[in-house]
Amino acid sequence: MRLTALLSMAAKAAFPRDYRYGTNRPWTIAAQRLNPPGKTRRKVFVEPIANEDWHVLKGDTVEILSGKDKGKQGKVAQVFRRRSWVILEGLNTHYRYIGRSGDYRGTYIASEAPLLLKDVTLVDPTDRKPTDIEWRYTEEGERVRVSVRTGRIIPKPVFQRRDGIIPQQWKDGTKDTSPEDTLQKTYTTSLKTLEEEVMEKMNIWEDKSPRNSYWY
């Protein structure tokens, strides 16, 4: 048991308490280059926002309030809750070379910089103007985002899975169980353990009585 615990501890990626998380995932080479093991950086203070109060979701349209691209609207590509960051598609960009090797200076691409949550606001889909957002409950009891200015509900953006599968258009393969078979209820409550039930079904008779053992 101790060996498996040790192995699981080794497999889990461990970072120091004052690790500064950036836009790169911590296990990538770029992140290792920016934050090598011995490096300590000044601590960044992040405004504490509870998980349920977070109102910007991936795929939302937001407007930038301050910075280079002030006043522009864009779609949220990535959200970093740990640092209250939001990355928009194609906005707030700086340019850099990527994939350089030897003499070749690499491709010149535009890379987006993250924006703090307080520098963006959600946009009301009806009149396309920036608003403040509050979490309120509908008559059915559903928790929704409501714009303070107009009072309209802002719907959640359509969640796209990372593997590109759309659940409504899924066709089962040979090894997949169909939805009807998956949801079919076959469980009946009984006072038998799994082993006893299975032995009964398979006609296995156990006549031997277990040896006397001592537990201490």
Partner: protein, 252 residues
Amino acid sequence: MSAAVTSRLTAAVCRQFQRVVTVSSYAQPQSATQAFSKLHLCQRSQTYDSWWFRSSVNNRALHTSCVRRGLEEFFDLPENWGEQTVKSGAPWTAKQLRVKSNEDLHKLWYVLLKEKNMLLTLEQEAKRQRLPMPSPERLKKVERSMKRLDTVVTEREDALRLLQTGQERGRPGEWRRNVFGKTFWYRFKEHPIPWYLNSRYKRRRFFEPSHVAPYTRLSLEKYLRSKIRKEKREKRSQERLATIFPKKTALA
């Protein structure tokens, strides 16, 4: 490989007993190793574990064919061979598994196990060929499904045990104090003999010696101090954050 090892061992044993008992015309170990080195897939010589079963009269190598059933289950369906990505559905959730009967869960466990074996074979072969494994997320899905199945079965067992006996844990145990004065949950082990006959168990000390007693109090004080320090640190960081990010009272 194991048969080759045993045949080498038997050869060593034979050499020991050569002076005592004559084992005549003994060519079995040699032929066994040669048979394996030739790597005939479904032909092997019947080798026995111990040398005394081999008679001096009937010592011709016996060849039988291997059982050929079921090895195809270690491999994927033939239409998926050579593909870069293989489509796979979502893993089983605990909610879906809870409506299934025990018999269904028992069958599903073995289906998942065989699928896992197939994927592990595929992973190992991909490593050997130094190629990427097609769709490695299938392995994660299968492992998660098996873990959830195990959770559902333990839930059912726990419920039955609580109902019938009132025991919270499946495995008996008790709180004990070790030699260092630390109290811990000692989980019982199954033994064939009672504790007063188990010399190794009697050597284990589940009490703290008298010279360790003062350190128990000191370690308790240390633990309490660290707990208070942690709480104070939390409170201090919250106050610092409140000064940096003051709460907005009137909305701008």
